[in-house]
């Protein structure tokens, strides 16, 4: 190999550039970015949608009007006063209350009565809540009813504390908080940052098997490069794409007001993960030489590897989450270092394997 060649003419760099260029020429990289944007938008959309369904009280300030009947109505009304989301109407006649419910003058009908407890230890308040069915609003109503009833339960427990051996732990104060905070950092950000790595691995399979199936690997081998150089170059291009895309995501997220901390360790970690999956992809590509089995094995194996990571003290997704939310521990950094070591070691092994493969049959 002539020594006077500048570094960027190194055959490995040239191959890496060629692969990345072919991606951008096919405009598929744009498609990939669009998909990821869609995934992001979709998850965000789903989060807002689901949270509002699952816990509409977290998003909504919509007030729910409850009709209250029964001999324990005073206790229930007292509990409802504490809740912002619910206002109450007192009914002494249950037929009238039911009519109000049927005519949609109230959102829900709560009948609270004292009943003797089956185990003979005093009286319980039995509440029958009538909720309108088949509308998106019923979720909101159910959530508000649950809040009121939880408050009632808490108050009753305090009144009956003398009968309990352990006092319930008092609740810390309530604050305004984003209901998406936990989801954003533990699910959305890891998902967005890992996706580029997995796509890179899949494309690494393609770029190797395509050369083999089309027979163009033969042409490359005529050039003064070894199979090792080709594997190096192709892996390099794919590995570097992943952190570049991740960085793009981080910028986009911070643009949306979601700040991501520890950007450098995250990028190092993503690069290491991308190296691991690309190594898997490249080895499978070289070993099978055909796309169909290689891709199938790749998707199954990455799933297994990612799933097996559960046995680690910290799942890679958790590592990303902790770094991004700025609560890293020493263990988190140890995982980053471990991932880098695994990537370097795994790739060295893969190189030794590729060096030993005779590529001429392809």
């Amino acid at each position: 190999m002539p020594e006077d060649r500048p570094w960027y003419r190194d055959p490995r760099i040239v191959i890496a550039r060629r692969d990345v260029r072919s991606l951008s020429r096919e405009k598929t990289i744009v498609l990939a970015l669009l998909i990821q944007l869609f995934v992001a938008a979709f998850s965000g959309f789903l989060v807002v949608g689901l949270t509002s369904l699952y816990d509409p009280g977290a998003v909504a300030s919509g007030e729910v009007e409850l009709a209250i009947t029964g001999d324990a109505q005073d206790e229930l009304i007292e509990a409802a006063v504490e809740q912002d989301g619910a206002s109450t109407v007192r009914f002494n006649d249950s037929t009238e209350a039911r009519r109000a419910f049927q005519q949609r003058q109230v959102d829900a009908l709560l009948n609270a009565t004292y009943v003797d407890s089956p185990d003979g230890g005093g009286q319980r308040i039995a509440v029958t809540a009538r909720i309108p069915e088949g509308s998106i609003r019923s979720t909101l109503i159910v959530v508000n009813v649950r809040r009121v009833l939880s408050t009632l339960e808490r108050q009753e427990r305090v009144d009956r504390a003398g009968y309990l051996e352990n006092d319930p732990v008092p609740l810390p104060p309530e604050v305004e908080a984003s209901p998406y905070f936990g989801f954003t950092y533990t699910i959305l950000i890891p998902l967005l940052l890992f996706l580029p790595a997995f796509i890179s691995g899949s494309v690494a399979v393609d770029t190797i098997t395509e050369e083999m199936e089309r027979g163009t690997l033969e042409l490359l081998r005529v050039a003064p490069v070894s199979l090792l150089d080709i594997v190096d170059g192709k892996s390099l291009g794919m590995v570097l794409l992943a952190p570049a895309q991740s960085l793009l995501w981080i910028l986009l997220l911070s643009f949306n007001g979601i700040s991501v901390s520890n950007v450098l360790p995250i990028l190092v970690f993503i690069t290491a993960v991308a190296t691991v999956v690309v190594t898997i992809g490249v080895v499978l590509g070289v070993a099978t030489g055909k796309r169909r089995p290689a891709q199938l094995l790749y998707s199954v194996l990455t799933l297994v590897v990612f799933g097996t990571a559960v046995v680690l003290p910290e799942h890679p997704a958790t590592t990303i989450a902790k770094l991004a939310v700025d609560s890293p521990t020493l263990g988190t950094y140890a995982h980053v270092v471990g991932a880098v070591a695994l990537a370097v070691g795994g790739y060295a092994l893969a190189r030794r394997y590729a060096d030993g493969v005779d590529a001429s049959p392809f």
């Binding site: 649950r146 939880s150 009968y163």
Partner: protein, 644 residues
């Protein structure tokens, strides 16, 4: 298409395909799948043991004398540290407690989120510890029974005329299965059976822990086989609806959705292999060998698809059987497998088209990811609402969820849910087949050109303009239904947040519908011009546009598929169906005339506009379609707002 040739191709695809899966691969695959099962088992059994997935992203300063120590210890979200005011101030600790006192009020989003999370953790911690208390009446002094009941009167979501306040909701709605064309269905249907008012109430007011009596109200409507999905609500959650306040859960079939996810995951593996096989036919002219055999194009495509289709359905059957006999979902029946069929077809058809379009393996990978993401969301987003509204039936996955939870599914529901995706899949196969020929398979044409090729492949004469509009209808229906589902989520969110009365959602859906329909009516015209199948003259362009509009109109009115369902009970669904209900008091013949002729006129006029644009080239096509969309939107908006 001949069966023996088709089967021969299928057999060949399984045994000695060019890119076949050899024995070694199969062994590795089997091992990997076993490993995956083992990992899943470990993950499930070890989920409580505090490893791996516990993202302890919040740091809580609390010492072991505080009652909050055990609370923080009980949740995976918190890491316990010594309380440290300095760390709190620097943001190195989110919460700090001294005894029962909170040391520091939250200053940023992270601390606030931590406190909110800590509060709910405390609530569930209390419920858990009190479960062991001696005096259960004092520990759980409130017992709750939830009853879902239909309301009469005016609803926020249901803006139509109400039925004068009779209470018999469930039973009466079951008889309205096929609303009459006027749209004012409720007044006619509820007339005869107001007698059950309050009948279901009496039996339900018992307290206690079993939820079965609660769902009694729902049974009546489900048995009716009509379209009232709302009545199913209480049953679908499968949760106990009686108990303590903490046991109440909003209607959300989360577990069933997770089960349904099992059906979608294997599809991705199937389409991986299928796409590879289809694309490798196009490498090095391998597919030419098959093309020169006496087998027809249809035989080849069907034969090559059959093994994968059988595989996908086989896996679905296996999953259903496993779920059924392991007792996880004892309600699973062949209906679930049948409902998966259109989803499998759609996945395969989209991959087939993708493999015909893709220029390289890399591109196919991206296309496959796109298909996976978009079809999975198509299957999932509506299914989230399984128990809420009929909108869920847009996705066949809803049928799977319903079947797994043991609900009966009406024929009308089944057809409404499965037909559009099934027909769309067939059309996709047809379009892809237009590319399964030497000129397209072995050359590198750009994707837009190939798209036009696929469309133009079906055009023979001027009459094809009408035919193509008919063929593309399933796409339009599926796209519109998906848009309705998506905007429904958006809408319900905005309803909850802003309390808007759905105006924005309706305007958006009108816009989306206009864009989708105008594209569907004119894209094939543009393809025809680009391939010189049509004459580029003004008169011819107008005629073609009119034909296309006519075809679209006939197909839309003939289809009436949205009418099969309850979709129009929601205003947003109503807006999607351009034929809005007529106001009362107008003579019937006039109604018929206006409501048949006005959409016909609209469709022909807008199609003619874009047709003229299409005949003059790419840029004028873009401009013309914008004009057509605006006209369409204004028409729809006028119709909807004047009838509202």
């Amino acid at each position: 298409m001949q069966a023996d040739k088709l089967l021969r191709v299928a057999r060949w695809e399984v045994t000695k395909n060019a890119g076949g899966v050899d024995k070694r691969t199969l062994v590795v695959m089997a091992l990997a799948i076993v490993a995956m099962g083992a990992v899943a088992a470990v993950a499930v059994s070890g989920s409580g043991s505090g490893t791996g997935l516990n993202a302890d992203i919040y740091r809580v300063g609390v010492d072991d004398t505080s009652p909050y120590y055990d609370v923080a210890d009980s949740s995976g979200s918190f890491r316990i540290q010594d309380p440290d005011r300095e760390a709190l101030r620097n943001g190195d600790q989110e919460l700090g407690f001294s005894g029962e006192r909170l040391l520091y009020l939250p200053r940023n989003g992270k601390q606030a989120a931590a406190l909110a999370d800590f509060r709910s953790t405390t609530e569930s911690y209390n419920d858990r510890t009190l479960a062991g208390a001696e005096n259960q009446t004092a520990a759980f002094p409130v017992s709750v029974t939830l009853v879902y009941a239909e309301q009469g009167g005016q609803s926020v979501l249901d803006t139509r005329e109400a039925t004068g306040g009779d209470g018999s909701g469930n039973q009466s709605e079951a008889t309205t299965g096929t609303p009459d064309a006027d749209g004012n269905d409720t007044t006619t249907a509820t007339a005869g059976n107001g007698t059950t008012t309050g009948g279901d109430g009496g039996g339900d007011t018992t307290t206690g822990g079993d939820g079965s009596d609660v769902s009694g109200g729902g049974d009546g409507s489900a048995a009716g086989g009509g379209a009232d999905l709302g009545g199913i609500g209480a049953r679908l959650t499968g949760d106990v609806e009686g108990g303590t306040p903490a046991d109440i859960s909003p209607p959300f079939p989360f577990e069933s959705l997770v089960l349904a996810f099992l059906y979608i995951v294997p599809m991705n593996f199937v389409i991986q292999a299928y796409g590879s096989s289809m694309l490798s036919e196009r490498l090095n002219r391998r597919g030419e060998l098959l093309l020169v055999t006496p087998a027809s194009r249809g035989d080849i495509i069907a034969g090559k698809t059959l093994p994968y289709f059988a595989g996908a359905i086989g896996v679905a059957a296996l999953i259903t059987a496993t779920l059924r006999f392991s007792g996880i979902a004892p309600g699973g029946s062949p209906i679930a497998v049948l409902a998966v069929l259109p989803i499998a077809m759609l996945f395969l058809a989209a991959t087939f088209c993708g493999a015909m379009f893709a220029r390289s393996f890399k591109e196919l990978t991206f296309v496959t990811v796109t298909i996976t993401v978009s079809l999975t969301s198509y299957a999932f987003v509506p299914a989230i609402f399984t128990d809420v509204t009929p909108i869920a039936l847009i996705s066949p996955l809803t049928l799977v969820v319903m079947d797994l939870t043991g609900q009966s599914i009406g024929v009308g529901e089944f057809l409404f849910s499965t037909l559009p995706p099934l027909v769309t899949a067939l059309v996709l196969f047809g379009l892809g087949a237009g590319l399964y020929r030497e000129e397209d398979m072995f050359t590198q044409r750009s994707i837009p050109l190939k798209m036009l090729d696929a469309l133009a492949g079906q055009i023979n004469s001027r009459r094809s303009a009408a035919k193509m509009s008919v063929i593309l209808i399933p796409f339009i229906v599926v796209a519109e239904l998906a848009a309705v589902a998506f905007l429904f989520v958006l809408d319900s969110v905005s309803l909850n947040i802003f309390g808007t009365n759905q105006t924005l959602g309706i305007v958006l859906i009108l816009g989306v519908v206009a864009v989708i329909e105008e594209l569907g009516k004119s894209l094939h015209l543009y393809a025809g011009y680009a391939h010189a199948r049509y004459e580029r003259a003004l008169r011819s362009a107008l005629g073609l546009g009119a034909l296309s509009g006519l075809g679209f109109f006939i197909a839309e009115k003939g289809l009436l598929i949205v009418r099969l369902s309850d979709l129009e009970r929601l205003p947003i669904g109503d807006a999607a169906v351009s034929g809005a209900p007529p106001p009362a008091g107008v003579p019937l013949w006039l109604v018929a005339l206006v409501f048949l002729l006005a959409p016909l006129a609209l469709h022909t006029v807008t199609a003619a506009i874009s047709s003229v644009g299409a005949s003059r080239g790419r840029w004028s096509y873009g401009a013309a379609i914008a004009v057509a969309v605006v006209v369409h939107f204004v028409y729809n908006f006028t119709v909807v707002s004047s009838l509202a």
